[in-house]
């Protein structure tokens, strides 16, 4: 009898996946060459699942800023802001984020995961009500647990269902916190934010939008779904991450709420962990500037997203409801998903194998995310491989180009 015995239910599925020759948890890169290419076992592979939406991980200005900061400030802060103090970069980044979103306040966390954990658990607690989309990210569910609030889920992206559940709550709906995501990370679908804002206003609830996958991706200025939907004034809190479009690690919360500064002394995932190292802060600050100043990155990202999504859809693959930098190809079952994932990797395409229980509706998905840094040639190469393998494994009916 061991403490780990309770997890033995996962042994057979994991061994099954390994027996099929794949272990997504053990892909080991010898080198990363660019935002879109890595070396695996001496072979070049196209990176197609990295969330590196703007391709800024190798941006020369970001790298320079990061290198300067590490020389000037050292490799780490070795503690929390409360204990070891705030470095100039932390404040500069918080100021820049608040300005970018046009909000009074911003607060930086060590990861996006902790931004949800610390933001949400700082906003609601025992006796409060938290209303979550059923397909919320794990960090939002964990935040709910940490908060101790009463949690009600509504059906994914379904405003009517949200309204119904709020109605059911009666007086408790007023002052509750609704949490949704800009772009959902598995399928790439977007929340119907306009409708949800109307419902939230009617109920007198607060709204928090996690723009993890939509910052730098949606909206004319790249502020995310709230900007794209034209409802920023009615979104009370925005959470985001530095680990996707900004190419580093970390997270944030912005808002106009009074007494925001109190969160810094009540939010445990903010207080009881080391703050971000100066090098990360510096590259993030520079990446945010790049995001703000260079809208061509967003345009290129959208063009690449369309190219991949339309290519896969027109071939006959089952994909999400609309083009988005995240495109998930629905596989008929887990075994096929594992087989395809392996075959894609063997052919030089690395993307995410997403299987239950991490996926909506227990689907098995090949989840891809494109970057502004992908070339049209790379995307076409990916499409060719998808088509060839799809035909080989009987997932597609006919050659695409023959019928075009």
């Amino acid at each position: 009898m061991s403490l780990l015995d309770k997890h033995l239910g996962y042994r057979a599925p994991l061994d099954g996946i390994r027996a099929a020759g794949a272990d997504p948890s053990a892909v080991r890169f010898d080198a990363v060459l660019s935002p879109t290419e890595g070396m695996l076992d001496g072979r070049k592979v196209i990176l197609l699942g990295t969330n590196n939406y703007l391709g800024l991980t190798f941006d020369p200005a970001c790298i320079e800023a990061s290198a300067d900061a590490v020389r000037q400030w050292g490799t780490g802060t070795t503690g929390s802001r409360f204990a070891n103090g705030t470095f100039a970069g932390h404040t500069a980044l918080e100021t820049a984020l608040a300005k970018f979103y046009g909000r009074k306040h911003a607060m930086v966390f060590t990861t996006g995961y902790q931004a949800n954990l610390g933001g949400i658990s700082g906003l609601v607690g025992r006796g409060d009500h938290l209303i979550l989309d059923a397909d919320s990210h794990a960090s939002i569910y964990d935040a709910a647990k940490l908060s101790g609030a009463e949690v009600i889920r509504f059906r994914h992206n379904d405003p009517e269902d949200l309204a119904k559940r709020l109605r059911r709550m009666g007086d408790a709906a007023k002052g509750s916190l609704i949490v949704v995501e800009g772009i959902y990370s598995m399928i790439g679908d977007v929340a119907p934010l306009k409708e949800m804002v109307a419902i939230k206003k009617e109920a007198g609830a607060y709204l928090l939008v996690d723009e993890a996958h939509s910052m730098g991706v949606l909206g004319e200025k790249g502020r995310g779904l709230a900007e794209a939907a034209g409802v920023e004034d009615d979104v009370d809190f925005i959470v985001g991450t530095f680990s996707k479009s900004l190419g580093a690690v970390g997270g944030f919360l912005v808002s106009d709420e009074d007494n925001f500064d109190l969160l810094r002394i009540v939010s445990r995932p903010y207080m009881f962990t080391a703050s971000l190292p100066p090098a990360v802060i510096a590259s993030t600050l520079t990446a945010l500037k790049r995001l703000e100043e260079d809208s061509s990155l967003r345009a290129q990202l959208a063009a690449n997203a369309d190219r991949l999504y339309e290519g896969l859809r027109d071939m006959g693959y089952a994909v999400g409801p609309h083009a988005s930098p995240i495109t998930a190809v629905v596989m008929p079952d887990q075994a096929t998903a594992v087989m395809m994932w392996n075959a894609l990797l063997a052919n030089g395409v690395y993307l995410n194998l997403a299987i239950p229980p991490a996926t909506p509706e227990n689907k098995s998905l090949l989840r891809s995310s494109v970057s502004a840094a992908h070339t049209a040639e790379q995307i076409d190469a990916v499409l060719d491989i998808f088509e060839r393998l799809g035909l080989e494994y009987g997932l597609l009916q006919r050659p695409r180009r023959a019928s075009a």
């Binding site: 609030a149 949690v151 709550m169 229980p357």
Partner: protein
């Protein structure tokens, strides 16, 4: 004792609704008694349980906060929780 058999009847009906909700979510038929362990006997993981709860909220037109599930292990526990919330509602 009429009172206690009324309670048993209500519990019985709730147990039956839990079974139906589970069948809707799981897409297979299930046999349950109040003693059925939801995770072990029905192979229901935490996500499926949350989906069953959502289904039950609609069937009973009731809010069932997820934090209340911490003490729910058996179908009987879940039915009891629902009956308690119904009285309050």
């Amino acid at each position: 004792m009429g009172g206690s058999s009324m309670v048993e009847l209500a519990t019985d009906l709730t147990v039956r609704e839990v079974a139906r909700a589970a069948e809707t979510v799981l897409g297979r038929s299930v046999q349950v008694t109040p003693e059925t362990d939801i995770a072990r006997d029905l192979a229901v993981d935490s996500l499926a349980l949350m989906n069953i709860v959502m289904e039950l909220e609609d069937r009973f037109d009731l809010s069932i906060p997820l934090d209340r599930l911490a003490t729910v292990q058996t179908v009987g526990d879940l039915s009891e929780l629902i009956n308690k919330l119904r009285v309050k509602a």
